[in-house]
Every structure is written in structure tokens, then in C-alpha cells.
Amino acid sequence: MASKDAATDGEIVRAVLAGDVERYALLVERHRDRYARYAVKMLGSHDAAEDAVQDALVRAFDHLGECREPEKFAGWLFLILRNRCFAEHRRYEREARLPEEAAGSVAAPDRSDGAMERRERAGALHRAVQELTPEQREVVVLKHVEELPYEEIAQITGATVASLKMRMHRAYDRLRELMKEHV
């Protein structure tokens, strides 16, 4: 088993395509959590994120023969997941679902417990981020949660750095408005 763990993503992809399907589990284990945080922030809940990641991993398997650069499996998987997150948003919009609660209950404003207050603010910010447009939410998540520079975000989204900054700056104002009770 030790030698198999040392295999690169590309080697595992080629092995799976050659028929060793069980080795796909290695890719799943390796990348299952890599983009989980992104999915949680984009979709608002842990459950929705799990569904999306699971779906993306299955879809990646179905189309594994089309992965043009097997060594870049992770990046290819991310694109599939990203599509899924945006598609999921469209479905939620259509079915008019209410935003899921983040972990942690809404604390009463006069609590003096610092940790409780911090958790409450984190929860409020999470909910506020869900109120942004999906494009705004993504740039906030990629920049301030995943801590990517604008140049990388531009490569991922296809937007220019200038338009990303515009999007982000609008998001800052929106978040300020949504969070006004917590400031």
C-alpha cells in the first residue's frame, strides 16, 4: 500500500483508465477535502457541500477519459465542482430555499462571553456572505477564505483583475450593510 500512496495523480488516473477502478478511491481520499471549504462557503451548508463534492467526484470519474492532463486532476476536479456550485445556486434560487443556518446559534447582543460573541459574528458573516450574488460570494471566498491573490482568481474565473476588484468592492459595501448590527 505504501508504494501506491506515492503514486502521482497522473499515474492513478492512467491506472484507473486502464481498468484498475478501485484506485480511484485514492484520488477521492486525496482531494475530497481540498475544496470542501470553498464548497461550504459557496453553498452555505456542510450538507450541500458534501453533495456537491460527491457529485463532482462521480462526474470526474464518468469523464475521466476526457481529462486531458491527468497530472492536473485536482484543477480539473475543481472546475467540475465550481460548475456544480453555480448550478446548485440556480436550483436553489428557483426553488426559493431559505439560507441554511451556519454552525452556532444567534447569540443575544448583550452577551459578554467573548468566544460566544466571536462565534456569533462568524455565523452572521457567513449568512451575510450567502446574501451576496454568487459572483461576489466567490471572489470573497477565494480572496479572504482561500487567500488567493487577484491574479489567480482571475485565472480561475476568467474575469479581469480590474472587474474582480470592482466586484469585491461592491461586496465589501454590501457586507457592511448586512453586518451593521454586529459592527
Binding site: Y24, A25, A36, V58, F61, L125, K165, D173, L175, R176
Partner: protein
């Protein structure tokens, strides 16, 4: 209603400025903004191990069922003859005299090969025609490059061409002067006031679009 953050504060949030670089009258706003974003939760997320077992269960199901072995197609070379059903409405008497059908013989090369070529048969029902050719992007619109030959006594003309994978525009040329798109397939304006047909060739076969 909170007013928008000052531009400099936004640049602070973007990481382009430090708090100390803000003018004194904006420091408070800058601190407020940093506090707001500081609340973001960056804790890494771990999904349930059940995700792995659920994915692998689906994966195993896929490989068991023969109908869903499409993914193997791209890896395993096969010699296949695929004939598409003639769509019934194409032979309806209400249609105009010419009806074009495209049947496909698909013989994919080995997956390692760089030539992705599919054999496509073109057919035109044109009784009374003296000559029929097909011209398109696959033969530089040369109306003499691909003649069809009569395939019987009922006015059907046919030829088979090797086409690369991709989308190709084409039209039939009847008697050297009449350009005829496939009347049964949706045709696109060619930019000259006439119409072209499109055939989409994939490794699995070809369809008129």
C-alpha cells in the same frame, strides 16, 4: 443605511495598504472594516468519510453495468459499424423532392492516434439530376472534389467521405449550379443569402445538426 467604505479602506481590505498608511480620519473606519472581515471563518472543512464510500459505490455500479461503460470507449479501440436510423419524417411525401440522409460508418482509430477520422456517408434523393456533388469546409468548397454516384434506380445519390472530428458546413451541388442544403436538417444562413447544413462529427459517430 451604512454608507460605502472609502476607497482607501477597500484597498486596505484588499491587502494593498496597511492600517498605518491610512490618513488618521479613516483609521477608525479601517479598523471597523478589518474587524468585519476578520470574523471570517477559515477553519478547514473535513467532509464525512462516507463521501468516499458513496463515491466508490457509485463508481463500482458504473463499471458493472454494461450500458454505462461509455467511459471505456475512449480507451478501448474498437471496430464498429454504426448505422443511424433513418428518421421517419424524412421520407414523408409532403417533403420537397430532395431529401438528404446522412448515415454513418464509424471506425475509430486507436486512441493513441492523432488522426480522428470518421467515415460519413452522404445521400441525396434527387431524381432527374445529371450530377450531384457535395462541397463544404472539409474539401475547401470545391464543388468537383466529392461527386456522388447514383445508388440505384430511385434517384438516390451517395458517397462516403473520411471526415475529421469537428463541425463541418456543407451543401450539395446539383447539376453544377444548384446549391442545395439538406432540406430536412435546420440550415444556417451562409452570409450570402443561401443556406448551409452542418454535420457534427464526434468519435462516436456523426449527426447532421
Amino acid at each position: 443605511m451604512k454608507k460605502p467604505y472609502h476607497d482607501l479602506v477597500k484597498r486596505l481590505l484588499d491587502g494593498e495598504l496597511r492600517l498605518a498608511e491610512l490618513p488618521p480620519d479613516l483609521r477608525a473606519e479601517g479598523e471597523e472594516a478589518l474587524r468585519l472581515l476578520g470574523a471570517v471563518d477559515r477553519t478547514p472543512v473535513t467532509l464525512s468519510p462516507a463521501v468516499t464510500s458513496r463515491v466508490m459505490a457509485t463508481v463500482r455500479e458504473r463499471t458493472r453495468s454494461p450500458a454505462r461503460r461509455a467511459w471505456r470507449w475512449l480507451v478501448t479501440p474498437r471496430n464498429v459499424e454504426v448505422r443511424f436510423r433513418i428518421r421517419p419524417w424524412l421520407v414523408a411525401p409532403a417533403l420537397a423532392a430532395a431529401a438528404a440522409l446522412v448515415l454513418v460508418l464509424a471506425r475509430p482509430q486507436t486512441p493513441v492516434s492523432s488522426t480522428n477520422v470518421v467515415f460519413v456517408r452522404f445521400m441525396l434523393h434527387a431524381p432527374g439530376a445529371k450530377s450531384v456533388t457535395v462541397a463544404g469546409t472539409f474539401n475547401q468548397w470545391d464543388q468537383n472534389a466529392a461527386p456522388l454516384i447514383p445508388a440505384g434506380t430511385d434517384g438516390v445519390w451517395t458517397t462516403t467521405l473520411a471526415l475529421p472530428v469537428g463541425q463541418h458546413q456543407y451543401a450539395f451541388v446539383v447539376d453544377g449550379r444548384r446549391w442545395v442544403a439538406d432540406p430536412a436538417a435546420p440550415a444556417i444562413d451562409d452570409g450570402f443569402g443561401r443556406r448551409n447544413s452542418v454535420v457534427a462529427v464526434t468519435r462516436q459517430g456523426a449527426r447532421t445538426l
